[in-house]
């Protein structure tokens, strides 16, 4: 029997970016919050031995223990789904700060086109442009409506970026709170080459912090040291924006937040109309607790949010055969991991490729969103085209020209020769939802508590292959202009391979919208089917754009916080 704890106004599941942001805003307003985090406590002190490629990048020190919980994956309805036994294509995290502790810090806003993708696509190209089975829909909010929340998130995190407005992206009400990151020689080459071709390159918006910064909450952080241990690592300097050094301490300082780490939520309790609290297990003692609450916010990763709802029987599960139901609908991913990219080998030029920062690079958005004419193309949307200098570590980076064996004398010589003579122009491609891409409960495999694992059904589509082929020409064009001795372009997109790291930008499953029959949450991320449940994160994305998701997730979290305060003030009811 679960021990019933004293009732609290708000319980938040997951203490990453969304949980941290909402906790900070609510507690500042005097609301008492309990934050349940299934992972351990983390602080900058934990990264004393942080510059360890093997431990953090290869052995996934900061990632979820998959022996306890994972997902299963299949490419289509006919295939047998099998467990994601070891980390590969994406990295599942846990712990205080969530993925906000081990992200790179690339902080792009989604485009105005993204939020009204269906309307705008039809408006420009007609309904026939959307192929059979592609389930794109508007998000129930516009870019202009979300802009003030982007602004708030960027000020909190101290996002660094160019002060001038780039013509390819949404209009900003304010410049970035800090100036852009430094420009490395390879970024310079990329920007010069793409300008020459008539494109509009800019330096990545970065949460790594280009200069010392004090945010509106009074949190002061030191500037990035460009140590090159960012993604998959924690920042020992506290320079990288991380919930642990930004929003969580602000919330704790109010005295209104109680965080319980090592607490795995297994179910949202409800009476069919509203949630009554959550059930969780203390990982250390194995004890089960019931935490009653007026409001439940789910702030886990995409898979956690969806699985919790399905295992709690909250919301109508999505059925791919009828296209009805919403929980698990519109799972989307991204196009990256080398596909569409071009590698340049520079025999007579060297670069300090080992230097870097997670969000250090330059981007061209001329072929992202609907920034270009798709009339004669067999796909919609597009990709960010980019050069990154995150710091190439030696176990993971041994790029050799095609035809070189993968081991032996020649491999050794070539991999050493090109370690600091190789540059990559890559794509981060959008991913459209399809009727048969979805998340549901696996019928066979179970987690540590005997609960069903989440099952993913996903593969790349013609839309994706066409996009990769098109963007590949552009990455090749830019690289050629950069003047390598030889270059290689990957134009082909193979079927989804879960063993190769591509992206942890998994999205959808609890999507937002303006119609309860096609979306799970409204534009405050309040559940249509349970007004006191808010489901926050990239799970709300109705499709995935050609950008990193965190800025959009952060903006949505600020909007949720406002919504929850409104909900409390008005004493319940739908916010829209």
């Amino acid at each position: 029997m679960a021990t019933k704890l004293p009732h609290v106004p708000v319980v938040i599941v997951g203490m990453g970016w969304t949980g941290g942001i909402v906790a900070a805003e609510l507690t500042k307003a005097g609301i008492k919050v309990v934050g349940l985090e299934r992972g351990k406590e983390r602080s900058t002190a934990d990264y004393y031995m942080g510059h360890d490629e093997l431990r953090y990048a290869q052995r996934y020190e900061m990632m979820q223990d998959l022996s306890k919980d994972t997902v299963t994956i299949r490419h289509n309805l006919k295939e047998r789904a099998l467990p994601y036994r070891t980390h590969g294509s994406f990295l599942l995290g846990d712990g205080l700060g969530g993925a906000g502790s081990h992200w790179n810090g690339q902080s792009f806003r989604f485009l105005p086109y993204d939020f009204e993708i269906r309307s705008k696509t039809i408006e420009r190209y007609g309904e026939k442009k959307i192929p059979e089975g592609m389930t794109i829909q508007d998000w129930g909010i516009t870019y202009d409506e979300l802009e003030p929340y982007f602004d708030k998130y960027e000020k909190m995190a101290g996002i660094s970026g160019e002060q001038e407005q780039n013509p390819m992206v949404g209009k900003r009400s304010n410049p970035f709170p800090t100036g852009p990151m430094k420009t490395t020689p390879s970024m310079k080459m990329f920007m010069e080459a793409s300008k020459k071709l008539g494109y509009h390159p800019y330096i990545y918006p970065s949460a790594n912090l280009s200069e010392m910064y004090t945010n509106p909450d009074g949190i002061q952080r030191a500037a990035c040291q460009y140590c090159a241990f960012c993604e998959r690592f924690g920042c020992e300097y506290g320079a990288k924006a991380d919930p642990v050094v930004t929003v969580i301490p602000v919330a704790l300082k109010t005295g209104n937040l109680e965080i319980r780490t090592q607490s795995t939520v297994t179910r949202v309790l409800h009476d069919g109309k509203k949630a009554t609290g959550v059930l969780y297990v203390n990982n250390i003692t194995g004890e089960e607790f019931e935490q009653p609450a007026d409001i439940v916010m789910l702030g886990g990763f995409v898979f956690t949010n969806v699985r919790l709802l399905l295992n709690s029987k909250l919301g109508k599960p999505y059925d791919p055969n009828t296209g009805t139901g919403v929980i698990g609908k519109n799972y989307a991913y991204q196009l990256s991991g080398g596909a569409g990219g071009t590698v340049g080998f520079f025999d007579d030029k060297e670069f300090s490729n080992f230097m870097g920062a997670g969000a250090l690079g330059a981007e061209v958005d001329d072929f992202n969103g609907d920034n270009f004419d798709h009339s004669n193309l067999n796909f919609i949307h597009g990709a960010g085209i980019r050069i990154a200098q995150a710091g190439e570590r030696p176990i993971a980076n041994n790029t050799v020209p095609k035809g070189t064996p993968s081991w032996g004398k020649e491999f050794k010589q070539q991999s050493i020769k090109y370690a600091n003579r190789v540059l990559k122009v890559s794509m981060q491609g959008s991913s459209m939802p399809f009727r048969h891409h979805f998340l549901d409960l696996d019928p066979t495999y179970k987690d540590q508590f005997g609960l069903p694992l989440l099952r993913m059904t996903f593969d790349f589509e013609e839309q994706d292959r066409e996009q990769v082929k098109f963007i590949a020409q552009k990455t090749a064009e830019i690289m050629k202009e950069m003047g390598p001795t030889t270059m290689q372009t990957t134009t082909e997109l193979k079927p989804y391979d879960v063993t190769v790291y591509q992206s942890t930008h998994n999205t959808g499953g609890v999507i937002m919208g303006s119609d309860p029959s096609t979306s799970a949450v409204n534009n405050y991320l309040q559940m249509w089917d349970a007004e006191n449940v808010f489901v926050v994160g990239a799970s709300a994305f109705a499709h995935n754009s050609g950008y990193n998701p965190t800025a959009t997730v952060g903006a949505l979290a600020y909007r949720t916080a406002e919504g929850i305060l409104k909900y409390i003030k008005q004493g319940g009811g739908s916010l829209v």
Partner: protein
């Protein structure tokens, strides 16, 4: 050394101070909040260093392999990453010790991986590893396979073959067609051997490979540096004396 001005014996905390990145005001959870667990007392530290200088590398002993397994691994890793004009190969870098230690680690036991059945080892490769075997088991089976194959084909041990013969055997194992193993394949084993060898060459020396940071030195990889803020805008390859995590232990007084 381009980085000559960087403080040599300091913590990340005093590094920030010395770099003029003073931090004041409200700091919550940031660097001053404790990037460091505190250094050892000077007298203790000097004692420790004095002792280490005189002694052999106690790390070079076996946690998992028997002697035969170690010898095969050492010979095979050397063919994957051979000694040449550029510098040492896997053998001199201690890669076989690295692999031995890793197979005895949580990674060797697949401790943080989902290992519940049912298993379908013959599933499509793009759905990931689906074998019930742990990495150390795949390694033991693979090494036995190497020994058996060489006995059948050459009537010799793998480690006694010429370099050309060893390469030919490894190619057969990489391709995975000619020789069958029970419970796994020669190509799965080879893939593991190859990636473990690269890790042993380039991981921090504390893991037993990359001896004296020679793996890093060959490709001008500087290892664990405080940061590159001062040099990252410079053209060309900026060279540094590499540093290991051990170097970081003596900092933070």
């Amino acid at each position: 050394m381009a980085d000559g001005k960087q403080p040599q014996d300091t913590s990340r905390r005093s590094f920030l101070k010395n770099s003029g990145i003073a931090i004041g005001g409200l700091i919550v959870g940031g660097v001053v909040g404790g990037a460091l667990g505190g250094g050892q007392k000077t007298t203790q530290k000097e004692e420790v260093e004095k002792v280490v200088e005189k002694t052999v590398d106690y790390n070079q002993a076996l946690m998992y392999f028997n002697q035969e397994q170690f010898q095969i691994t050492e010979a095979a890793a050397e063919r994957i990453y051979p000694k040449d004009d550029l510098g040492p190969g896997a053998k001199d870098l201690g890669v076989a010790y690295y692999i031995d230690h890793q197979l005895a680690s949580p990674w060797g036991m697949n401790a943080k991986e989902y290992m519940q059945g049912p298993f379908f080892p013959d599933a499509p490769a793009n759905l990931g590893m689906q074998s019930p075997l742990r990495r150390h088991e795949i390694f033991s089976i693979g090494l036995k396979g190497l020994a058996d194959y060489c006995q059948q084909k050459y009537s010799k041990k793998f480690q006694e073959l010429s370099e050309e013969e060893q390469d030919a055997v490894l190619k057969v194992f990489e391709e995975g067609k000619e020789f069958k193993l029970v419970g796994t394949t020669t190509s799965a084993f080879f893939k593991l051997l190859r990636s473990a060898t690269i890790e042993g060459v380039y991981s921090d020396p504390m893991y037993g490979g990359n001896k004296d940071m020679q793996g890093w030195k060959m490709r001008n990889y500087p290892g664990n540096q405080m940061g590159y803020a001062k040099d990252i805008e410079k053209e060309g390859l900026v060279k540094y004396e590499p540093k290991s995590l051990h170097d970081h232990m003596s900092m933070g007084k």
